[in-house]
Amino acid sequence: MSDQSVIIEDEETAPVEISSVHHQLGLTDDEFDRIRAILGRDPRPAELAMYSVMWSEHCSYKSSRVHLKRFPTAAPWVVVGPGENAGVIDIGDGWYVALRIESHNHPSFVEPYQGAATGVGGIIRDIFTMGARPIALWDSIRFGPLGQARNRYLLKGVVAGIAGYGNAVGVPTVGGEIGFAEHYSNNPLVNVMCLGLMRREQLVLARSGPEGTRAILLGAGTGRDGIGGASILASTPFDAASSQKRPSVQVGDPFEEKKLIEACLELYERDLVIGVQDLGAAGLSCAASEPVAKSGMGIDLDLDLVHVRESGMNAVELLMSESQERMMAFVDPSRVEAVLAVAAKWEIDAAVVGTVRDHGNVSVNHGGETVAEIPAASLVTGAPNYERPLGEPQWMEDLWSNTVKFVAQPAIATALLQMLDDPALASKAWAFEQYDHMLFLNTVIGPGHDASLLRVKGTDKGLALSVDGDGRLCYLDPRRGGARLVYEGALQVALTGARPLAVVDNLNFGNPEKPEVMWQLRETIEGISEACEALGMPVIGGNVSLYNETNGIDIYPTPVVGVLGLAAPLPSPPPRLDRALAGMELWLFGTEWAINLAGSTFELVTFAHIGGRPTAPDPTAGRAALQAGQMLAQEGVTPVLHDISSGGLALAVAEVAISSGVGVTVRYSDWRHLFCEDPHRFIAAVSPDAAIRVAGLAAEAAIPAAPIGEFGGNEIVFDRNGIRAALDLGVATSTWSQALSRRLA
């Protein structure tokens, strides 16, 4: 911890004299001057520490805020949009759902188990901070190739961390995705999405209430773990010395969080709190200042009253600690006793640590001395807003013209087998069987499908969610890539019978001080925004993770998009991948192929090629596909619906055949149709007696649709005018089932 020793001083009340301290806390000279201008004096150590975490990239979004304004955020069903702990939408019948996605990339690289575990813990707190019971998790994780031992260690550690925390805290992990690319070798991505459900009247916001309101710190004792996580770990690039940052990673305790969830839900149910704020990044500095700033108030905070897990902590440490499983509740004085009784029942510690004041300052006492006295608003909204320079990378033109010239048709069965053996495309059962994905009896469609589908007990409704990222596509064209992620997620949701309602996004990018990275970020945001507007979906929340750069190499620009849809009613049974039977027809839905293999998995897996320009999405075709998918699922005429994405038609068909345990014959005219990943296409299994109805629904949605084969037999067969390429179903199944697990054995 050599990089922090300098700030842990005994003389807490003395002004900072060492000019370089702010650098070590991640603040620039300009930012330091800005702080001096706000205070009209030199900051004290505790004050500087608070600014450093609250103004960190991670907490303040200072590099991305000017671009995030582009997102469409309004819709009649939006109750809470971006800027709170989670987005909230109204699904009717008196029910609200809360949704949020967060990254824990850098901590997971430094310490994969705890990094991932506390990522899960953090996102769950964001959800129950809003008043909702967290009911489901999804994770989107990316690593370098599994040929390297370090990457296998990271994948195993992250999956174990998600399982260890999620299972024990009692929130099921019902879906997700795992991707691989060399660019993530030294910078894995760990994004976790959480969904919560609440009755309308239980919504809670991070507000402090009026003068005299008490601030009660609930949950775990404060320790020295995770000090400076937001500013030191999450907001700077990585290098060989990063393992020294391990003490900046927090340590999770799912049991403590489980008790905290139950205690908080009881507080909301009994209407005992005015507002709450969880302690995540920036710890007490954030939880004490944000709710009061949003309420136009201030707070007297007494650090001597904070319950701690180790002695001798100074004010800086107490204010910056990111110890997990803590929550700040703002409580009317008349209800303090009742709140403390609830905490005692659930066996969690609680302490009244502050009082809301109308002086507008965060005034902090430690050991009888005032160690900080700063305007609350300046911590929360005073951070600079950077319009960093951006420019299109010079490599884009070369990338787009770098296409593969095919001289002959490849061996189709061999190419498909290669894909089935690719861990990015193969079964993820090795991972999701480590996660409890069934708790709460809501999981109608769980992991291993396109979108998850959860029932809402007590209603006839279902919630469909998908989470998808794609770094390669966005590297080739961030605007088209970002947009296609939104269309893909919306289509997956629609294929369960749900109407896509809202989006959350996690923007994982490189170093924002490079113009190329800022261009990628801006373009991606533009693409996501355009697609959301075309589909009438607001962005209700998200997260930005920058500085995903190690030794000067940036990751692929990797947005991860979560789409939430409402199925009303819930189709019973809904389409799945495993319901195809021998004798059913295979149908293809979608417009004419552009026959563009740029960015396709086929080119990557077969030729190790990444180049060309991916096809742009088409809003009209995109909307038609959503409408058709939703109608087919709702009418129950297609036991299987599956979107075509990575791996194209060939892989989509193989996944259905493997899941259903039945062979299939696919007729085609141009082999490139089998591997093209152009958007807005999906397949279905259709009983012959439903074919007329299916064709009618497709016509109604104005989407081309036709049978292209049938299910049956023990092979996956591709047939062009009688010339057959066949893959044995048993071989395909065992290859696909073991591709991931055998590499980790």
Binding site: P254, E256, A429, M438, L439, T443, V444
Partner: protein, 218 residues
């Protein structure tokens, strides 16, 4: 109406699912906090799944000391139906109400998947309505699901068709000699609705309620 107590320890997480499944069968299932020291008025008691006390120290090791465990043991001695599901099974073993112990899965990883279990005996409060040889499809969800019983004194009433966790003799559910105390590792309450994949678990829960109605073991 049959009254079933569903015990909640700090860290328990399957209590609401268990109550939901029993209520769907018409029973009066109620949550009981672990500090409660009486189960008067209840016909049967269930220790549901989860992570009581975070599984810290050893699964079930702290939970067995809870005040509620006195009356649970009293019901066991009185021949009333006592059921432990998953973590509840682990607690019953720790409390000495069932022989044996549950250790880490042979694969050393948490395992959540649908499994098939075969009913071996109908002489237990859980399997009283099932018939021997019947195969049920219900979800497994555990890390310490590997049953070991050097004494061989527990009666196996259900076993896995294809043992996924190394469990001795493929044991999926074990009962005491009287058949009134049962531990089951897979979750019958999760197999209680066709929409979620299977309703095979209902015959087990119905059997448990039927045993509670007659007020004694089988």
């Amino acid at each position: 109406m049959t009254r079933v107590a569903v015990v909640v320890f700090p860290g328990t997480n399957c209590e609401h699912d268990t109550v939901h499944a029993f209520r769907s069968l018409g029973a009066d299932a109620e949550l009981v906090w672990h500090r409660q020291d009486t189960l008067d008025g209840f016909d049967a008691v269930v220790l549901p799944g989860g992570f009581a006390h975070g599984d810290y120290l050893r699964t079930g090791a702290i939970a067995r000391l809870a005040p509620v465990m006195g009356p649970v043991a009293g019901m066991a001695r009185a021949g009333r139906p006592v059921l432990g599901i998953c973590n509840g099974f682990q607690i019953l073993c720790e409390a000495g109400l069932l022989p044996g112990a549950l250790i880490a899965n042979s694969g050393l990883a948490f395992l959540c998947r649908w499994v098939e279990v075969e009913v071996i005996s109908d002489r237990s409060v859980l399997t009283s309505l099932a018939r021997p040889g019947q195969v049920l499809r219900i979800p497994l969800n555990s890390y310490e699901g590997n049953y070991v019983d050097p004494s061989l004194s527990g009666r196996v009433v259900m076993r896995y068709v294809d043992t996924p966790n190394g469990s001795q003799g493929g044991a999926a559910a074990v009962t005491n000699l009287d058949g009134n105390v049962v531990g089951v590792m897979p979750h019958p309450e999760r197999g209680s609705d066709e929409l979620l994949g299977s309703a095979d678990g209902l015959i087990l829960l119905e059997g448990f309620l039927a045993s509670a109605r007659v007020g004694a073991g089988v």
